[in-house]
Symmetry: C2
Subunit: 152 residues, 2 copies
DNA sequence: TGAAAATAGTATAAGTTTAAACTATACATA
DNA sequence: TATGTATAGTTTAAACTTATACTATTTTCA
């Protein structure tokens, strides 16, 4: 076990601000999403379909960062609300094409811009354009580092 | 609804890197935590008790950022593992003092430094000291902004 | 070709999250 | 002091997450 001053530990320094920012951001957004009758993961799915003509479950999983196993239930409930539909894929009987219904598209056109408009001021009042770019870069660095094996 | 180029939207620019970094960081840490027989929230609770002589449920909730209602079950399971114990508080019969058992302290002394040592290299290889400080500041800004009402 | 390996989607179980309501106790103040 | 209000912790129900395993298909390649 290394000798290390915990007050200077980069992990411990970033962890709490990261969790607090993450929670605060989603607390604002989630309240709005729930008021529209969706749960946050359900919104993620609807939001992802934007201009597309549908995706398979695996593609949707990659796009939304939701686990494949979680999607089964989320899609079930969106289907029950008649917001999306599952269709068979011609050349692969394992796969499913999932897409918005007419009703789902209407909801998308309403809820997605509203969500972006709701969140934008919180970001604009907190950070300059340069800071946004810097933040974006540092978070990407961190993500890449954690996906690689560590040096030591 | 504002006219706005979505490609420049600070919210949309930061959101995905934030979620990806968050997931990648916790994916590394969580694997380690589970290998020690704890779930991530259970680890958070054990880690929080460090040098303390115990806390109430509300204090623990503030310290760990876990919801009060979630803590009931988490504490139940940690108590079943004999890692923490609930004791009554002298002057307030509503409150409960929660603290590590001997067994829980031993686990804490082992698992907390191990976790910090595991995560440190990923952060050190991703960001300089200055960047760590900048990241910390920007995340705090964002948190504060989201906790305030928006300007507009 | 035909068996092994990979893939798509679903199922399962344990644990967590959220919002909401509820119980018991403490506090405030009229 | 009585009564309303706040607080601590728990409970409930619905949805989600994770790891794991399973079914049905497709792909690979010996």
């Amino acid at each position: 076990m290394d000798v290390f001053d915990l007050k200077d530990d980069p992990y411990l320094k970033v962890l709490r601000p990261l969790v607090e920012a993450y929670q605060a951001i989603f607390q604002v957004g989630d309240r709005h999403i729930r008021s529209m009758g969706l749960t946050p993961p359900q919104f993620d799915v609807v939001a992802e379909f934007g201009a597309t003509t549908g995706m398979t479950c695996v593609e949707l999983s990659q796009a939304t960062l939701l686990a494949k196993a979680s999607l089964t239930g989320i899609i079930d409930r969106l289907e029950a609300k008649k917001l999306i539909e599952r269709k068979t894929v011609p050349n692969d009987r394992r796969a499913t094409n999932i897409r918005l219904t007419r009703k789902g598209e209407n909801l998308y056109r309403k809820i997605f811009p509203a969500q972006a408009n709701l969140m934008r001021p919180y970001f604009e009042q907190a950070l300059t354009k340069q800071e946004i770019t810097a933040l974006q870069d540092m978070l990407s660095q961190l993500r890449n580092s954690c996906r690689r094996e560590p040096l030591s």
